[in-house]
């Protein structure tokens, strides 16, 4: 089975955000595989273990993005493709990223039975690239899956639809996006980390891809990035617990007016 995983390197979720010169500062920040993409990597490796085949990881990013690909390889992915964004000056958006991924798949002649993505990235949280890529490749997609099973050509999934679970069937080839709960991603083992260093990574530049200007240019533009206002310290209630409970309910009713 030919399996592709699209992943993005993101800030660790325990990082605070600071802004410098109007941009999010990356100083001293720890980077990880986007947690939703990590579920996708884990599921890809499980599919490979069950059905055989090869897992190829694709990413778009600056030099540091290689760490994320190596981590996926240490977990068990076989190959990597990285599109270097160092020479991309202009802002990218989900429209451009989906076109770039499609062009990377074409350039590398990658075959696929299934493509796995995280359902969203924890940084920009747009939840767009997976379905957009499926449309560009003209294959079906199912988003926010929490269970995946493949029997012959048949794909059986459970999809999280805001608390409801939909049991859906489809066929290969397909793109699915991973929701939390799909699996428990493994930690890379030491031998896995050693092996990952030798696994092949193909590096691409924008010039390698067959794309029109129109496909890469972002359709949207960021005007401003800002932090939310700092919260004032709140009231810690005092006294007997029973009085505190009564006082709190009264404050929520008469002061905060939310009840």
């Amino acid at each position: 089975m030919d399996i592709l995983v699209c992943l993005k390197q993101t800030f660790d979720t325990e990082e605070q955000i600071t802004i410098e010169n109007g941009q999010i500062s990356e100083d001293g920040v720890e980077f990880v595989i986007n947690p939703y993409d990590e579920y996708a990597v884990e599921e890809a490796i499980r599919l490979k273990q069950e059905h055989g085949g090869e897992v190829t990881v694709l990413t778009i990013g600056p030099e540091r993005a290689e760490q994320a690909v190596r981590t996926a390889m240490a977990m068990g992915a076989d190959k990597g493709v990285i599109l270097d964004t160092e020479d991309l000056d202009e802002e990218m958006d989900e429209h451009s990223v989906a076109h770039l991924l499609a062009a990377m798949i074409e350039e590398e002649d990658l075959e696929y039975d299934i493509i796995l993505c995280g359902y969203m990235a924890v940084d920009d949280g747009a939840a767009q690239v997976g379905p957009r890529l499926a449309e560009l490749l003209d294959i079906p997609h199912i988003s926010t899956i929490t269970k995946l099973e493949i029997k012959d050509e048949k794909v059986i999934v459970e999809k999280d639809a805001e608390g409801d679970v939909e049991h859906i069937e489809s066929k290969l080839p397909i793109l699915v996006t991973a929701q939390q709960g799909l699996n428990d991603p493994r930690y890379p083992s030491l031998p896995g980390i050693m092996k990952a260093k030798k696994k092949p990574i193909s590096r691409l530049d924008l010039d390698d891809l067959d794309l029109d200007e129109e496909d890469i240019q972002a359709k949207t533009e960021t005007l401003e990035i800002f932090l939310p206002p700092k919260k004032q310290a709140g009231k810690i209630l005092q006294g007997d617990i029973k009085d505190q409970a009564r006082k709190l309910v009264r404050l929520l009713h008469s002061e905060a007016k939310v009840i």
């Binding site: 979720t13 325990e14 990082e15 605070q16 955000i17 802004i19 999010i24 939703y36 429209h95 924890v122 940084d123 920009d124 747009a126 939840a127 767009q128 690239v129 379905p131 957009r132 449309e135 079906p140 199912i142 988003s143 926010t144 999280d160 805001e162 608390g163 409801d164 679970v165 939909e166 049991h167 859906i168 069937e169 489809s170 397909i174 939390q180 709960g181 972002a218 359709k219 949207t220 533009e221 960021t222 005007l223 401003e224 990035i225 932090l227 939310p228 919260k231 709140g234 810690i236 617990i241 029973k242 505190q244 409970a245 709190l248 309910v249 404050l251 929520l252 905060a256 939310v258 009840i259």
Partner: protein
Amino acid sequence: MSKHVLVLSDVREGKLRNVSFESIAAAKLAADGGQVTAAVFGSYAKDLAQPLSQYGADRVIAVTSSELDQYTTDVYFQAFKKVIEHVNPDVIFTGHTSVGKDLCPRIAAHLGYGLISDCIHVEVKDGKIVFTRPIYAGKAFVKKVVKDGVIFATIRPNNIPRNEPDMSRTPNVEELKVDLEPDSLRTLVKNIVKKSSGGVDLSEASVVVSGGRGMKSEDGFKILYELAGVLGGAVGASRGACDSGYCDYALQIGQTGKVVTPDLYIACGISGAIQHLAGMSNSKVIVAINKDPEAPIFQVADYGIVGDLFEVVPLLTEEFRQLLNDQS
């Protein structure tokens, strides 16, 4: 310049979700005096035209095929595409919901549109429609515009106030026939297991009662369901509680998991890891109950009680019950 805005209504179990009215309010603003057209899908679509009109839609387009009663990407795609071609709007809004998140990026890619998802605020500035949306789950925010072409955005539930309904309005309904091609459907929904607690959706709930590792067990969550029940709210959880197996991942609130902005968020036994705070700190009023007075959750809380939640929560439930009884 006035614009023609199309809103795709979000329907759950035959009922319009609040986010549909919130999207219409956003659409009214973006239209700048132009027309707002609401589209609604499913065999009950025509019955939903009245509220859509009362909340501000100038025209309602109903696609009444029963194939649209259950969302699947391919049928909704075909119907939505047809409606867009028919209406030819300048601006398109839908809710940032399970349906909106699945459908809109795919349609946007098909039509070559930009899409700004998960918007919490819409304004018109120098003739441009400017959207505000969270990044890093609300640790920061961006203002964005669509550079050219059709302006397409999804609206996060619970953030843009809906307009006061005008009960005297009668809907201007147009039924649109869409020839759905069932053979072209590539995904098939076999069955659905309903899971939502008491029917209150976490992302749309006005009150969220949330538990962390301090709940100690799955059983411990019972008192939270009781409190949420009295307040008509939903129950959420921290990653710690989900990882410990106290509750389903569908309840997780945080940078991974759901981001919620209810009127009232009650955090019980949650210490307040950064990744959890990102998912709830934009709630209007936050209450924290925790044994540890140093817990970071108290730094974002408007009101705090330092104490044993197993003692405090049942007392609160009783106090709320009394207050609400007195009011009714």
